[in-house]
Symmetry: C2
């Protein structure tokens, strides 16, 4: 049930307005306290659109997750003018930054709550399986580029990407669920060692 | 409100019976569908004990988490006859095993659901901050032992332990929330590379 099919007058901006309202409500209330009404409260257009198109908050949130993932996939090409080492660093710095703006901190917490729904909900599990694959493929492309540049050793790309992704998922989980500033700093520093010993060793 | 103060006739076994009922109910229903009544259904003794001592499922679950962590802390000394490399491998094999018995799979899912409560509940956040510290200290002791044995390079113990812990948290999260057999295998294999390049390189 893709909502854009019904938003005939101005589909793109209407869907984006719903998605923006969902983002705002999710950052403000988290998953546990979120209701369709609270999303509607952030929605400047006709509330009935929201109620008409979504049967409940999970259906809306799954559509929101797909929307965010599509946007991510459209935007990942932007850093391809950097070399592989700098692209990896940019990913690590982004995910492992100790001080996040308040809305990114809140959004990370909400994403961990959404992710935990996958423990008992097959639709969420299917989504996070797909999003893990998308993020892993992005990491694979960076590591491949590093090998092609001659900067990285000829490692097993899929294995390295899976490992880095596990570190990223672990960091996001720790950030949202524990006092973790020291752990984030330590993990960020150790990632540099990993890149040094595993990917760069013996290279220029 | 430590329950053992009231279990005057046979405190240990009564508390343990509550904890066992909680474990069973958590594996069966997960966090989202858990109620005090469902825990009471697994409890062979007087149900009123449960209702008398806990105000709600979260109070009982937090006590359960503390109980499990205490038990973990009492039992970690058991593998100290192994050398550090084998102890690390044992931890990795335990956490990253692809095929888990059904109850451990269900328990890991429930733990991820409990952990995500920390995104909006300070009591859960305090617990997972403490449990992360306990597990990190265990990893630190293993890495320290490896350095003392002369098997590991003289690395920054805290940083390596934080990093490994992040990998473990990430793996548990992926296991519970995505189809992740391939990711678990890849991460397990890459952990061997990490140990090889970062800890063992240049050693015997």
């Amino acid at each position: 049930m893709p909502p854009e099919q019904s938003f005939v007058d101005d589909p793109d901006s209407t869907r984006e307005a719903i998605m923006e309202a969902t983002y705002t409500a999710l950052c403000e209330h988290g998953y546990a306290d979120l209701t369709i009404q609270r999303i509607a409260d952030e929605f400047p257009k006709s509330k009935s659109l929201l109620y008409h198109h979504y049967d409940g908050k999970d259906e809306l949130l799954l559509d929101f997750l797909e929307f965010m993932l599509d946007r991510f996939e459209e935007n990942v090409v932007c850093d391809e003018d950097l070399d592989a080492r700098d692209r990896l660093d940019a990913v690590f710095d982004h995910v492992l930054a100790v001080d996040l703006p308040e809305d990114r901190e809140a959004f990370t917490s909400a994403m961990i709550e959404l992710r935990s729904q996958a423990a008992h909900d097959g639709d969420y599990e299917a989504y996070f399986t797909r999003s893990d694959r998308v993020f892993r493929q992005r990491l694979e492309r960076i590591v491949e580029a590093g090998i092609e540049e001659g900067a990285f050793r000829d490692v097993d790309v899929g294995r390295v990407a899976s490992f880095l992704q596990t570190v990223i998922v672990g960091s996001m989980t720790q950030r949202a669920t524990a006092e973790s500033d020291d752990a984030l700093r330590a993990t960020r520093a150790e990632l540099d060692e990993y890149v040094h010993f595993r990917l760069l060793a013996g290279r220029r």
